[in-house]
């Protein structure tokens, strides 16, 4: 397994192009752009190729590209299923599937294989049937398949969504910016599914996927916090109370400064983790810091917006709800601190 740990001049330029391309689309759609208006460009403008290594004719920007794109998408509260799509593409690239290239062609061409954004519960019984639930599967209604792995990470699969023994249902979250589904599997025969890997190879790929999911959620949070802080400062500069702009009140200035420090710290940590020698070991820390910081920034921002922040028509709450949900996605809010501490204590 190899990771992009530095950025050459050439890939630096590619990265800038990619980021600009995302920015342009997001600026075009505005906040909360329709899912379609972002998903289509991510296919057409080749953003999905970011996850494909050069040897498979991709851009090969790896984590660095992921970071850049997710951060921009986070700023715009994008609802496009770019994150699960890149997880599926990465899993495919890492696999030894024989018809890998035809799959890749379909997936980078716009067929969506989605993935669970939270840890679910999937087991394989003695008769080699799959049972359980995949949790927080994004945009399952427009996907053909879902990426899935068993609890023990020994089976990594792509599972078609239109087969008997499988049902999916929308689970509406408070966060209105993305759409999530539960996918329930009931005695689904393993033999009929597309297996990407098994045993220790599957475990290695799942470890990698969990880290990528964490990094993507972290980048999303950093992007969200950045955009929200800018919006909040702008509000304070504009809003006049007691005959002066709110931005003149020192108590509010100091709270904005703390929000800026939180956001800068999350971004620095994420960047550092992505460029470290062993990014996977830092993924949980990066995710936890970025998502809890975004939640704090969002909590403060709503207060600083005052009454107008409580109105559905103002976008402030969209950030708050996305921030709260992000905390609980991935491995689960409370799990992160425990995972980070245990990993550290094991190492000392």
């Amino acid at each position: 397994m190899s990771h992009q740990t530095g950025v050459s001049d050439e890939s630096g330029e590619l990265l800038t192009q990619l980021r600009d391309s995302v920015r342009q689309v997001i600026e075009g759609t505005g906040l909360l752009g329709a899912e379609d208006h972002i998903w289509k460009p991510s296919v057409e403008l080749g953003w999905l190729l970011n996850a494909v290594p050069e040897e498979l004719d991709g851009l090969g920007l790896g984590n660095t590209g992921t970071h850049a794109i997710h951060l921009e998408l986070g700023k715009g509260l994008s609802g496009a299923p770019y994150l699960p799509a890149t997880l599926a593409i990465d899993a495919l690239c890492q696999s030894t599937l024989s018809d890998k290239s035809s799959w890749l062609e379909r997936l980078t061409g716009g067929e969506l294989v989605t993935a669970p954004l939270a840890d679910g519960d999937l087991t394989l019984d003695d008769s080699q049937n799959l049972d359980g639930t995949l949790t927080a599967v994004q945009s399952a209604d427009i996907a053909s398949h879902v990426l899935a792995w068993t609890n023990n990470a020994e089976q990594l699969l792509i599972i078609a969504l239109d087969q008997s023994g499988l049902e999916w249902q929308e689970r509406k979250t408070w966060d209105e910016t993305r759409r999530f589904y539960d996918v329930n599997l009931n005695a689904l025969p393993l033999a009929k599914q597309t297996r990407l890997a098994q045993g220790s190879q599957a475990k290695d790929i799942v470890t990698r996927l969990l880290a990528q999911r964490d990094f993507a959620l972290a980048a999303d949070a950093v992007g969200g916090a950045t955009a929200l802080l800018a919006m909040t400062v702008d509000h304070l500069q504009t809003r006049v109370q007691f005959r002066r702009p709110l931005a003149m009140f020192q108590a509010l200035k100091h709270r904005c400064a703390d929000m800026k420090a939180l956001t800068a710290a999350s971004e620095a940590m994420l960047f550092d983790a992505l460029h470290s020698a062993a990014p996977e070991q830092k993924a949980t820390a990066a995710k936890h810091l970025a998502c809890t910081s975004f939640a704090k920034v969002a909590e403060e921002s709503l207060q600083l917006h005052g009454g107008i922040g409580m109105a559905a028509e103002h976008p402030c709450h969209l950030f708050l709800k996305r921030a709260l949900l992000n905390v609980h996605l991935g491995r689960g809010g409370d799990m992160y601190e425990q995972l980070i501490a245990e990993a550290f204590l094991t190492g000392t």
Binding site: W174, F242, R243, M310, A311, C316, L324
Partner: protein, 399 residues
């Protein structure tokens, strides 16, 4: 605690156990707003009949003449019985009635108070889009024309205005002089020509607040409370009318809400997670303290020893504790708590739908004088620190 208040407590408790609507929480979850209004009307009627809706009214009025201590007993028992809050009638029973008792004329009292007892709904027209915590900057105009005022402008964040029959309106009759001096207090019929109401869709999906628009609306000078230009002082009386009692009720309800946290811990199988236990153990004393602060504040009002800033401490501490409370609920409920669940109308702040409760908790840190305003008051009026300067000159090069 005297024998009389304890008798009242026993009576109230017995009455509530017979009359509190059963299973109203379930019934109000995902209920249509119209259904909620019906339930409020029924509950209001029962309370008025029993005299529990108007204990703060003066002697001689139905249910009136209760001491603050007795009012507190009633509020505590209503919280204890987990009865619905009378959200729809709060402005009528407290703000409108107390303003009329304190500043209204006999004619106004005779005209409006019986209507309130019969269930007329009032709303408050104070806040404006550009005047959050800064009432002195209100812009809605009231121009005198003969024996009428002509109203033009816009109010916002008016609780349940879409159901209101009447409105307590604070409008500007004079733009010269200090801003406070140009305000006048009027009683406005919401069915008047030129009034339109637009419910505000809130971040919770609820719409318990509304905007009110006034387009050449006429109000008779007979419906002015106090003199022209005296509106600021009358508004202070309105805002002071329930001081203390609401927070006694809310803090008591917050204490009962702790059992919902315990329930969520059980549901999520976290009762033996020491990290969660300690968070809960850190929260409980704060909830107790919020109750104690509200309680002692009311005692001070009863014994007439209230000091400037006392009310701000109660409100600030309640708002902060409530936020911690609902944040803990949200933490414990995990991903499950992030799924949209239908909301409960007319409930307290703690419904066990923790993400909704989290959103709602901002009502207490923003409205009615934000936490920031309360901190200013505490620092300036209790601790004697300098007030925010009157005139500021920006540093060079800034506009």
């Amino acid at each position: 605690m005297t024998a009389e208040t304890e008798t009242l407590r026993a009576e109230t408790r017995a009455w509530l156990s017979r009359n509190t609507p059963a299973e109203w929480r379930q019934a109000m979850t995902n209920a249509e707003q119209e259904r909620f209004v019906e339930v409020q009307k029924d509950w209001f009627g029962k309370l008025v009949e029993a005299g529990y809706a108007t204990p703060h009214w003066p002697e001689g009025w139905p249910g009136g003449g209760r001491s603050l201590a007795e009012q507190k007993v009633i509020f505590e028992e209503v919280a204890r019985a987990d009865a619905p809050r009378l959200i729809l009638y709060f402005v009528a029973l407290y703000h409108a009635a107390c303003t009329l008792f304190e500043c209204g004329s006999d004619a106004q009292r005779d005209k409006y108070l019986p209507g309130i007892l019969k269930g007329e709904i009032w709303c408050q027209g104070f806040s404006e889009p550009n005047a959050g915590s800064d009432l002195a900057s209100l812009k809605t105009r009231a121009e005198r024309k003969g024996d009428k005022y002509i109203i033009n402008g816009q109010k916002t964040w008016s609780t349940m205005a879409q159901y209101a029959d009447r409105c307590l309106l604070l409008a500007r009759t004079d733009k010269s002089g200090v801003p406070q001096a140009g305000l006048t207090y009027l009683l406005l019929d919401m069915k008047s020509k030129g009034v339109s109401v637009r419910p505000i869709s809130q971040i919770t999906g609820d719409d318990e607040f509304a905007e009110i628009f006034f387009d050449d609306v006429e109000v008779s000078i007979d419906d002015r409370v106090g003199e022209e230009g005296a509106g600021w002082a009358v508004a202070q009386a309105t805002l002071a009318s329930e001081r203390g009692l609401t927070l006694v009720e809310l803090t008591q309800r917050m204490r009962y809400g702790l059992s919902m946290l315990a329930q969520t811990m059980k549901d999520q199988q976290r009762t033996s997670d020491s990290a969660i236990l300690r968070d809960l153990g850190a929260l409980i004393p704060k909830v107790d303290a919020a109750c104690a602060l509200a309680d002692q504040y009311l005692q001070k009002r009863i014994s007439d020893t209230e000091q400037a800033g006392d009310a701000s401490i109660v409100k600030l501490y309640y708002a902060q504790t409530l936020r911690e409370f609902v944040a803990l609920g949200q933490r414990i409920s995990g991903l499950e708590g992030q799924y949209h669940a239908g909301f409960m109308r007319g409930a307290t702040q703690e419904t066990g739908n923790w993400t909704l409760d989290f959103m709602n908790s901002y009502n207490w840190s923003i409205a009615g004088g934000s936490n920031e305003i309360q901190r200013n008051i505490i620092a300036e009026r209790m601790l004697g620190m300098p007030r925010e300067p009157k005139n500021w000159q920006l540093a060079e090069g800034q506009s």
